[in-house]
């Protein structure tokens, strides 16, 4: 007797064994139990000039393609200009230049990531948006050599977690005239 095709072989399996197989398949299909830790948050990861940044997803208003930038006179170099995000005008800053301290090279900015915190909104201009993932905030460790109020820390993959409210505050403070 010839061997039946593989997809028909299961027809000959006894019912009780078939049930075991089904139970195992169901078990495998079940998502692994989430390790519920109090400090786990969802993050949006961005890339800019070779640097990787992350922001809490809760602060993200949206992401759109960068189509046009209006020049802002007498602004710091990291302020690339004014951008329109779903009809609303925002200041657009290059993330790597402001938060990453990048002083050389430049980025092919393609995306506008609008963030909001404390009633203020800011547009971050970046090369690409990579992923959304969960991470424990405890995995980000401050770097004593790079202490900024808006930098929470860096993880083992060199992803820098930013604090949105402080990021906006400091970006705006740098724009205000010195008193």
């Amino acid at each position: 007797m010839s061997t039946p095709p593989s997809h028909q072989r299961f027809n000959a399996v006894p019912a009780d064994e078939l049930q075991v197989l089904k139970d195992r398949a169901r078990e495998l299909a079940r998502k692994p139990a989430q390790q519920q830790t109090g400090d786990e948050i969802e993050l949006l990861e961005l890339h800019s000039r070779g640097q990787r940044f992350a922001l809490p997803l809760s602060a993200i208003e949206g992401i759109v393609q960068l189509t046009s930038v209006a020049f802002v006179p007498q602004a710091p170099a990291y302020v690339r200009g004014l951008v329109s995000f779903r009809g609303e005008l925002m200041i657009g800053i290059e993330l790597s230049a402001f938060a990453g301290g990048a002083e050389s090279g430049f980025a092919d900015l393609q995306r506008v990531v609008a963030i909001s915190a404390g009633g203020a909104r800011l547009a971050l201009l970046t090369e690409k948006v990579v992923s959304v993932r969960s991470a424990a905030t405890t995995t980000f460790h401050p770097d004593p050599a790079w202490q900024r109020p808006y930098v929470v820390g860096t993880d083992k993959d060199f992803v820098t977690l930013l604090e949105p409210s402080a990021l906006i505050t400091h970006a705006f403070n740098a724009l205000r005239p010195a008193t």
Binding site: T67, A70, A75, M90, S104, L109
Partner: protein, 841 residues
């Protein structure tokens, strides 16, 4: 007892404010009403307004307001019956009562406020009795007819009982309709010779027949019952009209519920309107109040819609280009296999269909977006009349307090302007009118002595002209004398006596706009802000408008405000400065002239040009925005003459692009103010362009030192930057321009090659990965061309592999830099070498 629904309270508050504004206007008109007919109509209107306010207030359990409204009704009844004349004292008392009502809409009145308002009205009526005001829902009906049959007295008593029952019901709906229904039944059984009452009772009977009197009464039932009871009460005094009866009848009719029947499924009762007709916002063709902020948001989103349409247009163009390339390919392959040809032809036809569909969709989208834009812009336009109405009262009261007589006449009330603009010009208008009363209109004895009418007249007129609205404020007062202003300015220490004496009459008069030129009275009367005409002028300028004035001593003074009709769409002048496009609001542009380098002189320590026989400060826009000289000025350039109030500035630009209708978007809330920037606008081609603030430009230019041309500036070299990335192009161009190079930008190799043909290019800086024609293809084409073979090319790319560098060299590039390690200094050194190498040949 359950509190009224917050939504109902909000509706009441909005309605009450509208009604009180109308009431105030009517009272002011009553004071000066000439004949009996207009007076009768006004009284009827006033009664109806007060009656509605009373009813609405009672519905939301605002008995404090209902009490005052009731007292107002009673007071004006005596006017209606001829017992009292509508004197100034009576009108003032009534207006004071309205003021209290206005104040009470937002917050409950104290017992003292209610008592005082009622007492003022009583005094005006000549009543001596002090003390508490009569209850809003009196147990006894009144004013009553002198002769009344017993039957009528019984009917009247039932009406009183109905009012009490409805009042208890409104306080506690859970008691149910039993008591109300009992009284209604009694009223039906009674007879009345009043047609309005009969009609209302019949409507009540029909509406409440079959109502489950043990069930909790709902809001609509309570409202209807109150309105009906109140109208019956008003009819006792002969104050109810057929129209009111009809309105109440309709309200009652909407409540009619079929009683449940055992043999048929219980139909769901038609859900009555949640809002009583009388509690709806003022109906004006079905208008609805929309927050201006929401309109702004809609308008900005519409702008994005238009931008999306433009992007679709661009994509359609790309499809057209692809089609064209496909056609050419087909032509070249026509000698190939027929099977391939068929397939290609099929794809070509399909592409053609898609292109056609996309074209149609883009067109439809554009039509819809444009229509929506126009509709939303239109929604923001409201007549200017409503802000002028309260000013009548203000003028009257202020004149009275100064023992003067003045009346405000208004024309052009139907001129429609942007609602936001309306809110913003309220303060400047108020200030100008206060000035007219305070400083313009003379006292009655002085006016009489000068042969003028005792009553001073202030006329406010509005007229729309093109995209502007001109508001004139003209008084027939004493006018302004230049010498008086001179003396006052010297006395306040604003100007030295010698300088004041040297001023021309016009210059002296303009001192009224000087900061600090205010009187003590003004500091306290204008909301305590201590504002003067300087602030008025600045506020008007900030709105994109202008203020000017004319005066004739002894005759009067006229102020003209020229303002844009709308703050949303306006016309802008597009210019290029420092390679960046900017938009300057056209309202601030007086003229555009051509300036030769040789014509630029110096005046008052600044560069200046002659314009209409006056020296006007000149500055290049690129210098002003950079805060420093930004390069050698050209021999000739266009200059925009900016006008802000009475200041002028000649703003040199690199290029004039043209005029466009623009929608200026402001920055998101919480964003810090940016120097010289009022916002941005999207152009027809989808680009976002910064809109400059004329006031800031003029202030900065006239307060800075003269711009000295930087000697030895780098002679212009022209570099072509080709990159499909907007930010990369901009970044490289800005580095080059700061170093004194002139740049041209291209978004792909094909566009770059075209520019090469049109301009004298010293160096090409090109990305490698670009659409249409990549960087390597561009280099090869240049090397193959006799004309461009020797133009140096520097590749600036993100490709860092050795193989990529080799390909670049093989194609003929003269240099290769990688973006992620871009160093401006090293870049400029290389550029200089390459440009120099070309120069050397």
């Amino acid at each position: 007892m359950s509190a009224p629904d917050p939504e109902l309270i909000q509706i009441f508050e909005e309605e009450a404010r509208d009604l009180l504004a109308q009431l105030q206007r009517a009272l002011l008109q009553l004071e000066g009403a000439p004949g009996s007919a207009p007076r009768t109509d006004l009284l009827r209107l006033i009664f109806r307004l007060a009656h509605t306010i009373k009813g609405s207030a009672a519905t939301v359990e605002r008995n404090d307001l209902a009490q005052i409204a009731h007292e107002l009704e009673s007071c004006l009844e005596e006017v209606r019956s001829g017992t009292l004349e509508p004197t100034a004292e009576l009108t003032s008392a009534a207006l004071a009562a309205v003021d209290v009502l206005v104040e009470g809409v937002s917050a409950p009145l104290t017992g003292e406020q209610v008592t005082l308002a009622g007492a003022a009205l009583k005094r005006a009526r000549g009543m001596a009795a002090p003390g508490a005001v009569a209850a809003a829902v009196p147990a006894e009906p009144g004013p009553a007819k002198r002769k009344r049959s017993e039957r009528q007295s019984a009917f009247d008593a039932l009406v009183g009982s109905l009012l009490e029952a409805v009042s208890r019901l409104s306080k506690d709906p859970a008691v149910g309709m039993a008591e109300v229904l009992e009284v209604v039944a009694a009223l039906v059984a009674s007879a009345t010779d009043r047609p309005v009452s009969a009609r209302v009772i019949a409507a009540m009977h029909a509406a409440f027949e079959g109502v489950d009197f043990t069930a909790r009464a709902d809001r609509d039932q309570i409202e209807a019952a109150f309105l009906a009871a109140d109208l019956l009460y008003a009819d006792l005094g002969g104050q109810a009209s057929e129209e009111e009866a009809e309105a109440v009848g309709r309200k009652l009719q909407s409540l009619q519920v079929r009683p449940p029947r055992a043999s048929a499924p219980i139909p769901a009762p038609s859900r009555p309107e949640r809002r009583a007709p009388q509690l709806q916002p003022q109906v004006d063709g079905g208008a609805v109040k929309v927050p201006v902020a929401l309109l702004d948001s809609i308008l900005y989103r519409l702008d994005e819609l238009v931008a999306a349409k433009l992007r679709i247009d661009y994509q359609r163009k790309q499809i057209e280009d692809a089609q064209e390339a496909l056609d050419q390919g087909v032509a070249r392959a026509r000698a190939g296999t027929s099977e391939l040809m068929h397939e290609v032809e099929a794809h070509r036809r399909k592409l053609e269909f898609v292109r056609g569909d996309l074209t149609q969709e883009a067109h439809n989208l554009g039509m819809v977006a444009h229509g929506l834009q126009e509709d939303v812009k239109d929604v923001r336009m409201v007549p200017i009349g409503p802000i002028l109405d309260p000013l009548r009262r203000m003028v009257r009261d202020l004149a009275s307090s100064l023992d003067k007589q003045a009346a405000l006449e208004v024309s052009g009330e139907t001129v429609r302007v942007d609602k936001r603009l309306l809110e913003l010009i309220r303060d400047p208008l108020t200030h100008l009118l206060r000035n007219a009363v305070d400083h313009g209109i003379e006292r009655p004895d002085v006016r009489a002595a000068n042969g003028k009418p005792v009553m001073g007249t202030i006329r406010v007129s509005a007229e729309a002209r093109d995209s502007q609205v001109q508001i004139e404020i003209k008084d027939d007062g004493r006018g302004i004398r230049a010498d008086d202003i001179r003396a006052a300015a010297v006395a306040k220490g604003l100007i030295e006596p010698e300088r004041a004496a040297a001023l021309s009459p016009r210059e002296a008069l303009n001192l009224i706009f000087a900061a600090g030129f205010t009187t003590a009275a003004e500091l306290t009367s204008v909301s305590g802000r201590g504002v003067g005409l300087d602030v008025v002028r600045e506020n008007v300028a900030r709105l994109g408008g202008r203020i000017e004035f004319f005066t004739e001593p002894g005759k009067g003074t006229q102020f003209n405000l020229n303002l844009p009709l709308t703050l949303t769409a306006s016309r802008g002048l597009l210019v290029i400065a420092g390679k960046h496009p900017f938009c300057i609001p056209l309202a601030a542009v007086e003229e555009v002239i051509a300036v030769e380098l040789a014509e630029i002189g110096a005046a008052n320590g600044r560069l200046a040009v002659q314009w209409r026989r006056q020296a006007v400060t000149f500055v290049r826009l690129s210098d002003l925005l950079a805060g420093k000289p930004s390069g050698r000025p050209p021999n000739r350039c266009p200059a925009v003459i900016l006008a802000v109030s009475d200041r002028r500035l000649a703003l040199g630009v690199d290029e004039l692009v043209g005029q466009e209708e623009v929608v200026v978007k402001g920055l998101a809330a919480g964003t810090p103010t940016l120097a010289f920037v009022s916002g941005a606008t999207s152009l027809a081609d989808g680009r976002l362009v910064t809109v400059l603030e004329p006031n800031a430009l003029v202030i900065a230019a006239t307060s800075r030192n003269a711009v000295v041309e930087r000697p030895g500036a780098t002679a212009a070299r022209t570099v072509l930057v080709a990159d499909d990335s907007l930010t990369s192009r901009t970044m490289v161009a800005s580095v080059l321009e700061r170093a004194g190079y002139r740049t041209f930008l291209a978004h792909d190799g094909e566009a770059a090659f075209t520019l090469l043909s049109q301009e004298a290019i010293s160096l090409v800086v090109s990305d490698v990965e670009m659409p249409v024609l990549d960087g390597l293809g561009l280099v090869r084409r240049m090397r193959a061309s006799e004309r461009f073979a020797r133009v140096p090319v520097l590749l600036l790319t993100s490709l860092d592999a050795a193989l990529d560098r080799a390909r670049g060299a093989e194609a003929g590039a003269n240099g290769y830099l990688v973006k992620h390690s871009f160093d401006p200094g090293a870049f400029l050194t290389l550029v200089s070498q390459l440009v120099g190498s070309k120069e050397a040949r």
